[in-house]
Symmetry: C2
Subunit: 257 residues, 2 copies
């Protein structure tokens, strides 16, 4: 039973709040029964596992909690990174809010087979808020890190002010032999090679205000928008937009390819 706040494991947990410490050690913290259970279910062995009352005095565990919710169990795990592969994956560009990154990881785990691929400027997916928002999906489907150009597949960019609606652009990208080339030409920025029907699709989502940079929009095989009602807000939450895009892609790919 740990009874001193100077305990080395407690000090390490506390330090792992900082991204620099997570980067240097390759470790991260998961707080709470649900996340620790999700880690175990996905076959992750903890480097440290402290249960309040069993391994450590509860108030000492509270002191190192980053979430301030009085966690009764805290685990430390080694970060894993996936390869950017899958029939459908999600690429995030400059999504700085850790809750959005975690929610996107959970949505991708539910709605597609590929990982979330983190581009430049994204929040650390292994920070405490992102891990929490992933609700354990970070263990089942660890994220990937890669420049967009190195990810195989057709790129569908979600943008606020783009030319075709999401459903049209998704249909164009995934329809393949079920659609004529003229449809592909009309809705896609480039002509998707019809021989690539069934090839991977990467949904690209940018930050809520700035959106995707021009370089990604111009390089994308199709650019799409989610229609917003008249008088509606300027944008959707980034994780919400990503989830709608993955839902549409999933439905279309199941139906058409």
């Amino acid at each position: 039973m740990i009874t001193s706040r100077d305990n080395q494991q407690l000090r390490q947990i506390h330090k792992l709040r900082r991204k620099r410490e997570r980067d240097a050690s390759g470790l991260f913290v998961a707080e709470g029964e649900d996340l620790v259970a999700a880690a175990e279910a996905a076959g992750w062995a903890p480097e440290i596992l402290l249960r309040a009352g069993d391994d450590v005095e509860p108030e000492l565990l509270d002191r190192v909690s980053a979430l301030g919710s009085g966690s009764r169990v805290i685990g430390v795990y080694r970060q894993r990174w996936s390869e950017p592969r899958g029939a459908v994956s999600l690429y995030l560009h400059a999504i700085g809010d850790p809750g959005n990154v975690g929610t996107a990881i959970r949505a991708a785990h539910a709605l597609c087979d590929g990982p979330v691929i983190l581009g430049p400027g994204c929040a650390d997916p292994y920070g405490p808020k992102a891990v929490r928002a992933s609700m354990g999906s970070i263990f089942a489907r660890p994220p990937a890190r890669a420049p967009l150009a190195e990810i195989p597949g057709a790129k569908l960019a979600l943008d606020g002010g783009a030319e075709s609606t999401l459903a049209e652009a998704v249909a164009a990208l995934v329809a393949g032999a079920h659609e004529s080339m003229s449809t592909l030409r009309r809705n896609s920025r480039r002509n998707v090679d019809i021989d690539d029907a069934g090839a991977p699709v990467v949904l690209c989502v940018g930050a809520e205000r700035d959106g995707l940079p021009a370089a990604i929009l111009s390089a994308a095989d199709a650019v799409a928008r989610i229609p917003i009602a008249p008088g509606g807000p300027d944008s959707l939450n980034a994780a919400v937009a990503a989830a709608i895009g993955l839902y549409e892609l999933g439905n279309r790919m199941a139906a058409d390819v």
Copy 2:
């Protein structure tokens, strides 16, 4: 210039962190330039408006910030409640997380014409985290409060383990004359009266684990699920699920009705 922490306006802002105080006064707080600008754009006059450096010493404003982000402006507004009307609205049941309530309000503002209707057990939409997550949509589209039975329209319940997928159920609910009655019978729990084509639709979303109570599921005109990939998580974030449902309803109603 306010220079004392005992200032009555600062004390009131501080007290409005508490739901009891918000309920008693009918007021709430919005922090930050973006939210105050959204209130002004929607025609809401503040009861109190304090700008750091102009009206109050910056460190005193920081002290009463509920979000801990060093807001440079804080406004106090009077709560408003909408009537539960619209071609498509969103009913939330027992969504206790204020961030999810706010994100759902923003998504509904983007994706449907009706308000978010709060059922029992939902977080206060006028709490600081919910207001923040709404990104100003709470001013453009204030929420409503009503028991589900008093809301006009067909009810579409989103459920984890339901009989038809979302796209099918939405098609059944909104298709009207474009679909045969046999389709409606197959996909809907009840027969939606075909004369009601174009009638309001209320999307019902429950908490992430418990889902909707049996009474709502059995009273719904249709029950649907968002397909989750094999090996995926048990559920989606409630606001994400609501947004996907609203997106599907919006597309179908635009296409079919």
